[in-house]
Symmetry: C2
Subunit: 488 residues, 2 copies
């Protein structure tokens, strides 16, 4: 099986698609740009969702559900918002089909035209702030800390499974506050939650920063982003958290009576991560043999393969180990299928990124040992049978940690300070990664650099230090470096 994957250095994009397909994560669908998330891919999403949901609840949020459809006129209420989303909207215009009077099949019933078209939500700020108007009267109603797990649709021209699809799954938090400061703190808190999730669960270090005005969310005052680095040296925006100021409260006339009994507009945030995180996970850790999964997000954490096939003695040991590990909260699969050879199974579970493989053979059992293989380094060791229940949980932690360290080292090695335009171009094309460079702060320069090199400003890092310098492109004065990269 492993042979079927295009090697990374031959064609990175092809490699990615091969893994998504062959590890059984997703499939194309009959609908342009929409994918089918297959059971194995969806199981990873369930793990991500459950963990994020826990983290949202720990920070005081509750879930709710708002309509899929948004009246067209709502989009226009916030000027930047409509500008940002109008060009990629799926529009519902009719509510009925009828038999085709001229043939077979069905056609749209012209009598069932909607008075006002409905947009399939590309994001829900508008419908949610329309609702919040009814929910918020006084400071006692605030803060409102609500999250929604949902599907959204953005009509993208070029799509790729998980990374950019017309329909995708996500969560969107929408909070309302009495003060600007409280809302800013909320946006920062969720930014931090996302960064922590990426590091602690995806084992993917991220750079926390703010977007430039040109790159921020349509309708936001400030957009915080987490940026990860993929193995081909391209950056990937993994999540964003927006401080929306009073823009949506003003657009939808949402006011509250403060403690002094005076009316004020409400302050807002929104924040989201999507199934794109699965794409990020795939590209961060996988290799030419297939998927590599961090143990904390692996649907199967340990697989037991009988060598050469199942039998009483092997079954007994396998069951003992499966039960012992399950009792410690570890997900174990014992693959008893005797129509497939061990070598085939090895390749299959490597392809699927199962972190730990135990091979139980009669000869090893006679010697009181068992073969333990880890997916991340492909190391194999013989572990005494009576130590296996202690060894495997430790090994899973070690793998999780190793993936993070490995990825962090790669990332750190790919942040390059550049101080001339020539250097900028050569590092970008030869090495890739993040380029830490001075920029004159204008949209014009930002766009020009993108036009010339395809690199965009990924973020102004939160921990940036003040430093006087000259813009990499125009030579104009600058007070801090920003991070450029080519990006997904």
């Amino acid at each position: 099986m492993a042979k079927q994957i295009t090697p990374r250095d031959e064609d990175y994009s092809r490699w990615y698609i091969d893994i998504v397909k062959k590890a059984g994560l997703a499939d194309n669908s009959a609908v342009r740009g929409c994918m089918v998330i297959k059971p194995y891919g969806y199981a990873i999403w369930e793990k991500m969702r459950d963990q994020l949901d826990l983290m949202f609840k720990e920070t005081g949020h509750v879930n709710a559900y708002f309509p899929l459809f948004i009246p067209k006129s709502f989009l226009s209420r916030e000027a930047e918002h409509v500008e940002g989303f109008a060009k990629e909207c799926a529009v519902v215009t009719h509510h009925r089909l009828m038999n085709d009077p001229h043939g077979s099949g069905v056609v749209v019933d012209p009598d069932a035209k909607l008075e006002e078209e409905l947009i399939v939500r590309p994001t829900s700020e508008t419908i949610i702030w329309h609702t919040y108007k009814d929910w918020i009267q006084s400071y006692r109603d605030l803060p409102l800390l609500i999250n929604q797990w949902a599907n959204v649709v953005r009509w993208e021209m070029r799509t790729r499974p998980f990374l950019r699809t017309t329909e995708f799954l996500w969560q969107e938090g929408h909070t309302a506050h009495t003060t600007s400061q409280e809302a800013e703190e909320e946006a920062e808190r969720m930014h931090e939650v996302y960064a922590r999730f990426c590091e602690d669960f995806i084992a993917m270090p991220v750079i926390k920063g703010a977007k430039t005005d040109n790159e921020k969310f349509a309708g936001a005052i400030e957009t915080y982003t987490i940026e990860a680095l993929m193995q081909d040296g391209k950056a990937l925006q993994a999540g964003t958290s927006h401080f929306l100021g009073q823009n949506f409260a003003k657009a939808f006339d949402v006011k509250f009576l403060n403690k002094e009994n005076k009316e004020e507009h409400v302050w807002a945030t929104s924040w989201g991560v999507t199934t794109r995180l699965i794409g990020a996970l795939v590209m961060t850790h996988s290799d030419d043999e297939g998927l590599v999964l961090p143990p904390k997000l692996a649907p199967i954490q340990v697989v037991i393969v009988p060598i050469p096939k199942p039998g009483d003695e092997i079954d007994e040991q396998a069951e003992r180990i499966r039960k012992g590990l399950s009792a410690k909260g570890i997900t174990v699969k014992y693959d008893r299928d005797d129509t497939k050879r061990p070598g085939f199974k090895f390749a299959e579970y490597e392809m699927k990124g199962v972190p730990v493989r135990l091979a139980i053979g009669k000869r090893d059992l006679a010697n009181g040992v068992i073969e333990v293989a880890r997916r991340d380094t492909k190391e194999k060791t013989s572990i005494p049978l009576d130590q296996i229940l202690e060894h495997v949980p430790q090994l899973l932690e070690e793998i999780q940690e190793n993936l993070l360290q490995r990825t962090r080292a790669y990332r750190d090695d790919h942040i390059t300070e550049v101080d001339s335009w020539e250097e900028f171009q050569s590092v970008l094309s030869d090495k890739g990664g993040f380029l830490s460079a001075h920029w004159d702060g204008t949209v014009a320069t930002e766009k020009k650099i993108k036009e010339l090199t395809k690199a965009t400003i990924r973020c102004i890092p939160l921990d940036v230090k003040q430093e006087s310098g000259k813009c990499i492109y125009t030579g104009e004065p600058s007070t801090r470096r920003v991070l450029f990269a080519k990006a997904y």
Copy 2:
């Protein structure tokens, strides 16, 4: 607060809407027929979903996700299916908006018309069976046991929160099998899972039966249903499980090579329950003071109210109890809010259906007791402080059981055997509930009875006994009774 609810015997429909609104379960939205599920209502849905998901996984199913959109032509592939759904479809015809050249706002961009219109899924058999064609080649690929949690849209003319909405949340299982028998067994198994969930978790007894040909799912060979009885004597279809035969396999050309290396069409089932279950829950247990929740699905199972307000001694006891009960897996809220009086809080938690309320007062503490009130019977008792951690879990179980018994007694009392047309009409209008009656087996009679009385055949009960009789309406011979009722 309680006064704000319309009493059941004054206006049952109004009573239902009042509870949904005032308990904070759902709100109307700006989109016709679509509701907003509020945090408290969504928390109930999360509990239902998590429990059902567990039961699906225990019966061998995995989750996946298929596209929201279905190409229009797919619907026409199965003749009965398109007949059943074409008249209530939301149709996407364009993928872009543009600035209105004649004014403000945005309009549909005529240049962005789709070549083929897309239907927002009313159910996913067509897109899923189109996908299964790629996934199924051999008997080794079967059975395929897949479920999806999703939103669907059916353009309903008359809507009511949870019971019938244009968009709703649901799960849809779609399975593929090598034999007719295996698929039938699967449809029956999930029918049974639904019935068990309703009884064990919603505390809502259901009658298991089969739908008549006239009432079955568009495209099914057999539809199994679970039918519950609401307090106004109307039936509510709470879930369905369909044996689809080879209809969809033939429509989408899905074949497999059997063990004898011969091609056969695949056998199918589908099954679903929706957010309608929340409406069923509300109408099954609630009273004129508000919502009554079965403990197993209550977002807050126990609330602790300080009398008359919080203070050191009370806080200490409340925290001790909260921790002790939490350690037993019980969800407890200690309401320290000192801006509201105890009486107000009592009414609020009654409205929200919290199963158990503990009132902690200084005088009671001095006597070493605590007041325990149960929501189902409104009984109050004084329980010694040192017994409270044992008492509350038992009480929650007792409440769960009591709700089931109470509802079952009501239901059993409302299944009436009727043997004449006069009796049929008078029982239907005076007592309501299920009417067990002979029927001649024709669609014509079924429709005529519906036209005359609004009663429909809810199901042919699975445990029906063979018995010769005469059709209640035509007097034609019949071999078994079926259950009629007016229904939601």
